[in-house]
Amino acid sequence: MTEVQRPGIVVVGASLAGLRGAEALRDRGYDGPLTLVGDEPHRPYDRPPLSKHVLAGELPADATALPQLTRLRAQWRLGRPAAALDRERRVLHLADGATLPYEKLLIATGARARTWPGDGADLAGIFTIRTRDDARDLRAALAKTPGRVLVIGAGLIGCEAASCCRDLGLAVTLVDPNPTPLARLLGTAIGATLAERMRGAGVDFRPKTMVRALSGEAGQVRRAHFAGGEVLETDLVIVALGATRDTGWLAAAGLAADAGGLTCDGACRAISIAGEPDSDIYAAGDVARWPNPLYGDRPMTVEHWGNAVDQARHAAANMMAAPSAQQPYRHLPAFWSSQFGLNIKLAGHTAGADALALVQGSRASHRFLAVYGKAGRSIAAVSFDEARWLPAYAEAVAAGARFPPFPDAIDQPRVERLEPGFPAARPPAHRAAPALEASHV
């Protein structure tokens, strides 16, 4: 007898955003029934360590559970993904046939890893890194010392995976259609430093390279066939092609949802296909596409840890507030990454950058801070092993400071102006569906 009295609030998605959102509801005094629905069988866990410490073998995959910061008094429906949403009847259908009525809904279903779209997808030895189980399986495979690892895609996850493989002493080839790693996120000028760094660490980085097909023997992957005709012997492939938003279950819900996310208004309320916000349905985390006032109300999704936490708490606050008291969500996207002995941090949104200035440190030392500009304004700052100054620059970016923001700072006699070098068009490389990367819509 769980469906007693009122249906209460249902949180769809039991990862970081879902958990922090549910906690925020309780912290703000929500006392009614609370249900968390998750497609994985696990309680909420932390993803950043999966592509770092877990692959390195420093942390078991099941030791990544997120701490619960508030007593939730919640019903957990784990291992049962949401299948459909009936807004008219205010009912959520689960994949196992169960139905869950709701008064209000917080959607935090996140994203899922894009799998290998080409030939050979059914071979053994091909991995993605998104879930705890993915990381556990990949770790087990890496521990068996494969001959050569191929990583497809030099985004954040691909680079971190390549770094871990080198730390494990494994031979690694990393391919990407762009001229440098992290080209879409940071541009090729900064990406070139990372390329240098990873080559120094022994990675066989192949820029402007696409994989056409994977092939194998006895069901096990053995070779990668590059678009240029070359064949690479490999027995372990990590597919790091970004993620698609988990919105398939919303197909018939009448909400503005697609593989790029669920569209929301500034207050994180889901927008219907008629363009009206549904005042009982909110979204947060990777799945939410909302107009960010910090970037001229440009709709964006932000697939980073900090946004999952902040947006979930913000959405929860709005769920508890009177419509007139709801606040728009402002967020400066930010991420960190550890790879090849570097601490890389970004604050801001680099999309559309037309200028780049190295304002602290130097590229030669692999220790620097650079600022991205767009139309004379500072829009983002990235640091390589130089995070100490980042908060000051992040504040300037959030305030829309001119570019570069501080002409008068220490360590600046060597300010270097560069072309940021963002790839113009998305190359049609190893992808089936329209590709959407972290922070880019």
Binding site: S362, R388, A392, D408
Partner: protein
């Protein structure tokens, strides 16, 4: 309108014993302009933001009114904060990146965990020996008996100063330390004496460095003096000497205050003294709270290279900026009941060791020295009682601490 004389009042010796009411008034205006054009920064939030602001320089400090002597190192000693000297001759606390980072990197590489661990044993032996010397007396003069000799001995050991020279080194350290008070005033004779001391210690260091290069030992100076790639020295002699003097003076003047302020605070809170005596495991919490409540360094000076908007005010380019670290440590917006000495408090993010890129290099060592000294004092001094409250203070308003701390005792355990 904020009070434009607050900083002058902080410098006034009559406020030395209790500057905290002044700090409370300061925080009413988180960034406040003083009559001389400098800006006081006193809230925890504003300090946190500024210590990571690349527009604050430690290098380009406002010029001194005093005449330069022509010897940049000597100028630094005579006019520690204000003098503008040639870049290459300044110790790293008065340098900005990238030079600062390079120099600091060398020092950090030598400040190894193994060395700090070795120092632990040495400190324990030293503290016991120093307390043993007080046997048969009914009074301990804490500064002379323990707080002062301990850090000099430790830094000598760490640097690799031969034991035979320690007494001489100690005397030099004392004289240089007086010169380093940010608000020190010296008469002509005093300045001549300091200059002579400086020349003497520099010559001594130069000889010692040569010796360490010839016969390297397992000490910091040998490590710093070692040759790097292509047989070239890692650091130039002038940087080496200024770094060694910095480690000596900075590492030692501050630790004196940490130990003395710590014991003073414990004697003023006898229940806390008893708790520490009963449970030495509390020491880390006690030390952190002392670093917040009565820190060894109260403020540091910087210069704004550009205009900086902070806490609702704008500091104009070129202004001297005084980071009132000790005021931030008592900010009620950051700490609940900030004027209460409470080792139980959590999230104790104080500025006791400064912050940002100039965060104290010797913090781990200072913690060990203070921990062992205070725990041993609590254990061995029988029925300790403060003789003068407040005690007489040394002149410094930034490196602030008692000149001496008389403690009546019923014996030594």
């Amino acid at each position: 309108m904020s009070d434009e004389t607050l900083f002058a009042q902080v410098l006034d010796p009559k406020n030395r014993a209790d500057p905290y009411p002044l700090y409370a008034r300061m925080r009413e205006t988180p960034v406040s302009r003083q009559a001389d054009g400098s800006y006081l920064v006193s809230t925890h939030a504003a300090l946190s933001s500024l210590i990571f602001d690349p527009r604050l320089s430690s290098e380009d400090l406002p010029p001194s009114r005093r005449p330069a002597t022509g010897n940049p190192l000597k100028d630094w000693i005579l006019n520690p904060i204000r003098n503008r000297v040639v870049n290459a001759h300044r110790p790293l606390i008065f340098r900005d990146p990238p030079d600062h980072d390079t120099l600091r990197g060398f020092v950090m590489k030598e400040f190894t965990i193994a060395r700090v661990r070795d120092a632990h044993a040495k400190v324990a032996t030293l503290v016991d020996a120093l307390i043993d010397k007080c046997r048969g007396r009914d009074t301990v003069c804490l500064v002379d008996d323990l707080s002062y000799p301990l850090p000099v001995a430790v830094i000598c050991e760490l640097l690799g100063v031969p034991e035979a020279d320690e007494r001489q080194f100690h005397a030099w350290a004392t004289r240089l330390a007086t010169a380093l008070e940010p608000d020190a005033r010296h008469d002509e004779a005093g300045r001549r004496e300091i200059a002579a001391t400086f020349d003497a210690i520099s010559d001594y260091m130069r000889r010692l460095i040569r010796e360490k290069r010839r016969h390297p030992a397992d000490d910091m100076l040998s490590g710093l003096a070692a040759r790097g790639g292509r047989g070239r020295p890692v650091m130039g002699d002038i940087d080496l000497i200024s770094t060694a003097i910095l480690l000596l003076v900075a590492g030692h003047e501050t630790t004196v205050n940490l130990i003395t302020n710590g014991m003073l605070t414990l004697l003023r809170h006898p229940d806390e003294l008893e708790k520490l005596k009963a449970d030495p495991e509390r020491a880390p919490r006690v030390i952190e709270e002392i670093l917040r409540y009565e820190p060894p360094v109260h403020f540091r000076t910087r210069k704004a290279l550009g205009a900086i908007a902070v806490a609702g005010a704008t500091i104009p380019a070129g202004s001297p900026v005084v980071l009132m670290l000790a005021a931030g440590n008592r900010d009620p917006a950051r700490f609940t009941q900030p004027d209460r000495f409470d080792p139980e408090r959590n999230d104790n993010q104080h500025f006791g060791f400064g912050g940002g890129l100039h965060y104290c290099v010797g913090a781990p060592l200072a913690r060990i020295e203070a921990e062992i000294a205070l725990v041993t004092l609590c254990r061995r001094l029988v029925a300790p009682r403060l003789l003068d409250d407040p005690p007489p203070y040394r002149p410094g308003a930034s490196l602030r601490g008692p000149k001496n701390l008389g403690i009546a005792i019923a014996g030594i355990a």
